[in-house]
Amino acid sequence: MKRKVITMIFTAGAALLDAIVLAVVNSDPDGTYGYKITQDVRTILDVSDSTLYPVLRRLMKDECLEVYDREFSGRNRRYYKITEKGRAQLNMYTGEWYAYSRRLNRIFTGESLIYEGTGEDEDEQR
């Protein structure tokens, strides 16, 4: 199967991957399954087919995700669902990302770094 190749100049660290996977799983209230998670992540990151399993396992170990099996076309499919802790973690990641990207944009657009603004984004970090 031919997929659109996502080019990655910037590498994603473990935290960003955790955040992306949490966001993908969170987007489905009933939870979602491994293949679909991989395909969703692949719309933005070039991860190879087999590689999201360690991320899911780590998030399960940290109790950010829980699994359950549900019948699907004659077999049991494993679903991954976000937990309360996972949702809190995702909120934290989202806030951090928002503040971080604002600062990055400020550098890229050549705005002064000393500019304090209204202090909104700095407040959000805390």
Partner: protein, 214 residues
Amino acid sequence: MNKDDFLRELAAELSDLSEKDRDDAIKYYSDYIDDAGYDAETVIAELGTPGAVAATVRSESPVIRETADIPNPPANPEIVNPIPVIKQNKAERRLPAWVIVVLTLLSPVLLALALVSLVIVILLVLLILAIPLLLAALTLGSIAGGMTLLIAGITITPHYAPPGFFSMAVALGLVGFGCIFLILTCICFTRILPGLFGLFFSGKKKVKKEGGME
């Protein structure tokens, strides 16, 4: 390689893991092959050899393919010389022309408004600063006046009692008022003023703290 062979070999590669960890991994890849929805052999070929998949399962973080062929800056003149790009960005950030025109037309009104607000703020600040001073003056006046009247009363009483007693009573009343004013002044200086200063300067302090953090 068919699905059963792949999973069997993967299980063998992961034989050192706990049973639960191994089963979880096998379940994940078994589901993955089924859910891909196309020919299992192709999916397995894309997943890699059982050994490679086992190495992935063991690894802490996934492998993200880094594209070596993408960073090719000389092909793009804008990236070779970043200064024009920045200039362009700054131009884009400028306000649209109509906003500038409206602001220019409104500028006398805006200036007047700004001046008036500034004056009002200064007056308010002076008023607030004047209240404690007024209280202090009242305190001083009442107590000093009271004391003078008291002395006068004491001096007059032996000669002419009624006005002497009267002035002593008034004097005591004045001293009483003086005490009340004194308490109010103390409250003003210890509670209200620091609170006001806190209000005025907290914003600045906050900015300073954030500046330190950056």
